[in-house]
């Protein structure tokens, strides 16, 4: 006699956001946003400044009261003690006590999360090591470099060893060298199985760090998926031709419009189904009385996807 089928309930998702809406007066910062994060994955929230990324994270950590929608963290309401315990948050702005040392900052935030004794000290030690600040543990924050402050800011969000961490543009204003160090810290977390939400308006960061990406604009999630899925959905197998031409501006604009392209900064960009179509484009430059400076063929990236979906550049 076969054993009866036992359905094993799947563990709750680290984060489930459903129909989240937030208005500030007449401005709708979030408009029915729905997002899911799988365990151990890194979800990038990619969008330009003012898209609603920070409001989304602040709603999850309870610093913004949504007008509609629900947020659950590991199956618990976002404002529950369980959720707060499981959630770590790295705010975009530095949120540190500048007169306190690195260690004192971490100890303070640890105590706010209910850590004491050995557990607190172990967690502080882990954070200092993770942020590569062990040798600066006794240094007041006001004496640290910008990059060190950023790393400590991140470490403070992890002091209570959460299972899900929300990082709100942690590399803003950071030099390239420090940025790489931060990437390594995040990758270390990711490798250890931490579930991560990472907001950014840098395409390269999202491509490097995130398993899946949600593109947000004006409070809406306009696309969601892996990098490949997003590009595939937007461009299928098509490629992009990027051309720089010289000539009168109105002539260039007319030519770009005639060929179905768009002007992006100082370049003209066209989508082609096949690379051979580039020949026709090159011919049309001369016919339009313009001078070709250079041309390149490339596979579309997230920047292209955003441009394709919104008609604007990601960093507008």
């Amino acid at each position: 006699m076969p054993a009866p089928a036992v359905s094993i309930p799947s563990p709750p998702l680290p984060l489930r956001i459903d129909g989240l809406t937030k208005r500030f007066g007449t401005l709708t910062a979030l408009d029915g946003v729905s997002i899911e994060l799988q365990s151990g994955k890194c979800l990038g929230v990619l969008g330009p400044n003012g898209a609603g990324k920070s409001t989304l994270l602040r709603s999850v950590v309870g610093r913004v009261l949504p007008d509609a929608g629900t947020v659950s963290v590991f199956g618990c309401a976002a404002d529950s003690d369980e959720a707060r315990k499981a959630l770590g948050w790295v705010p975009q702005e530095l949120a540190l006590y500048s007169r306190l040392t690195c260690r004192e900052n971490l100890e303070s935030f640890g105590r706010y999360h209910g850590l004491t004794g050995n557990a607190l000290q172990q967690s502080v030690a882990w954070c200092l090591e993770w942020a590569a600040l062990l040798d600066r543990a006794g240094e007041p924050v006001q004496n640290l470099s910008g990059g060190m402050k950023r790393r400590l800011n991140m470490a403070a969000g992890l002091i209570h060893r959460p299972k899900l961490v929300l990082m709100d543009e942690p590399t803003v204003g950071v030099d390239p060298q420090s940025r790489n160090r931060i990437f390594e810290m995040i990758e270390k977390l990711h490798d250890a199985g931490m579930s991560i939400i990472y907001t950014t308006h840098y395409m390269e960061e999202a491509e490097r760090l995130c398993d899946r990406i949600a593109i947000v604009d004006h409070g809406h999630v306009i696309a969601q998926g892996t990098r490949e899925e997003l590009v595939q959905d937007a461009f299928a197998s098509r490629s992009e031709v990027v051309m720089r031409v010289a000539g009168p501006a109105d002539e260039i604009a007319r030519w770009v419009q005639q060929r179905g392209g768009r002007t992006v900064g100082a370049t003209a960009q066209f989508t082609v189904d096949h690379p051979t179509e580039i020949t026709g484009l090159l011919d049309s430059v001369g016919k339009a009385g313009l001078e070709l400076i250079d041309v390149s063929l490339r596979k579309p990236n997230l920047e292209s996807v955003f441009l394709h979906l919104t008609g604007r550049e990601l960093r507008d």
């Binding site: 602040r58 610093r63 009261l65 948050w89 935030f109």
Partner: protein, 427 residues
């Protein structure tokens, strides 16, 4: 030069806090000092005097009438009615207790036998002295009353003065002839009749004579054994004012948390806004209490304040005061949006509170209305409480009005501060 002035003016106009400090604060202070020391007749403070008549003689009654006729005195012959039931007149004991309790800074006890020989020139072993019981923390009232008594003797007891004069004539000049004595008696009788009919000389007479016509024996009933009478007053008065500054500064850390973003981080942890405010209040109160301890220890070490025999009273009053000022600081911080605003507002409010609450000069020097207004301040209640402890040596049970009010103020201000802090809770 002009561009510099223009830039400075524009900056000042934008900084409303600085603008308020520059123009409003001096005017407010000037007004407060003008009311207190401006010398307007209708606001001159009256001295409260307790009058206990043990003699019930013609002379003692006229003395009371004379005192009551003085515009600068408020004479109490019995405690105020309780539940509409009139209280018995003051006895020597209840009058002394009332001075100890701070009901009045001075009491006059007219002993039995005073009327037999109320007035004398120079020393006279037979005369009975009026007891002047005083609280030595008020240096003005007893001096003023002593002078007024002699004046009243001259103006309210003219017949007794004349009679006493005739005795001196008898003793040192050889006396009057029968005819003169007859006329003198008739004249004195006429004076008495005038006094009784109310047409006689009154206490309003401007004449003033000093020199002990009425025998007065002054006794300190409060502070008699104190080395340095005003030290405890000033330790409390100045202490409370600076406590208010300390507490508002400490509460400003709440605004720091808002400005540097840590508030968001703290509130995203297990800590709620109520816990955060409660923690800040506890910190402010502890800081304020430590400051008080240091201040009183300094007063003990340097100015010989009797600190160690008043520890229980000090702890109770110190903690109540620290709680109230801590909550006051939290309220100011929750009203303001920036540290700069807090600095300006706290300076303005604390200096005004301190001036009318008795931290800058004793409230008994102020007009009655101002004294009552002072009761709206933390300073007044705290100073009154510390005075009871260190000056009047009153037991802990007598501190309940001050403690209740200070704790009540603390709770009320904290509740309001919590309400105002809601704006930082969610955005």
């Amino acid at each position: 030069m002009l561009p510099i002035i223009r830039t400075a003016l524009v900056s000042l106009r934008r900084d409303r806090a600085a603008l308020a400090l520059s123009f409003v604060l001096p005017i407010v202070f000037f007004s407060i000092f003008a009311v207190i020391f401006g010398g307007r007749r209708d606001v001159t403070p009256k001295i409260t005097v307790i009058f206990s008549d043990q003699d019930h003689s013609f002379a003692s009654r006229r003395l009371l009438k004379g005192l009551e006729g003085e515009g600068s005195l408020k004479v109490l012959t019995r405690p105020s009615a309780k539940k509409n039931v009139q209280q018995p007149e003051y006895t020597a004991a209840t009058a002394e207790a009332a001075v100890r309790d701070g009901v009045a800074p001075v009491a006059l006890v007219v002993p039995a036998g005073f009327g037999a020989n109320p007035i004398s020139f120079g020393r006279n072993r037979d005369r009975v002295s009026i007891q002047l019981l005083r609280d030595s923390s008020d240096m003005v009232a007893p001096q003023m009353l002593g002078g007024l008594l002699q004046k009243i003797a001259m103006t309210s007891l003219p017949d007794l003065m004349a009679e006493e004069g005739s005795k001196y004539m008898d003793q040192y000049v050889g006396g009057f002839s029968p005819e003169q004595r007859k006329k003198l008696s008739a004249g004195l009788e006429h004076l008495r009749q005038l006094e009784q009919s109310g047409q006689g000389s009154t206490a309003k007479t401007d004449g003033f004579l000093d020199g002990g016509i009425i025998a007065v024996e002054t006794r300190d009933v409060v502070g008699a054994n104190k080395d340095n009478p005003m030290v405890s007053f000033y330790a409390a008065a100045i202490g409370v004012m600076f406590l208010l500054f300390t507490a508002s500064g400490a509460a400003g850390s709440l605004l720091d948390e808002v400005e540097n973003g840590t508030l968001d981080r703290v509130l995203s942890s297990r800590v709620t806004m109520t816990t955060l405010l409660g923690g800040k209040l506890a910190y402010s109160a502890l800081l304020a209490f430590s400051q008080l301890v240091l201040m009183f220890l300094w007063a003990w070490a340097v100015f010989k304040l009797d600190f160690f025999s008043h520890i229980p009273g000090f702890v109770v009053m110190g903690l109540s005061t620290a709680f109230a000022v801590g909550a006051f600081g939290m309220l100011l911080a929750s009203i303001c949006r920036t540290r700069a605003q807090l600095g300006a507002l706290s300076t303005l409010v604390i200096l005004v509170m301190s001036s009318i609450g008795g931290s800058m000069f004793p409230r008994f020097l102020m007009p009655e209305a101002m004294q009552k207004a002072g009761l709206l301040t933390i300073n007044a209640w705290a100073i009154d409480g510390f005075t009871k402890v260190f000056w009047r040596d009153e037991p802990l049970s007598h501190l309940w009005p001050q403690i209740s009010v200070l704790l009540g103020i603390g709770v009320a201000l904290f509740v309001i501060a919590r309400k105002l802090a809601q704006r930082w809770e969610y955005r």
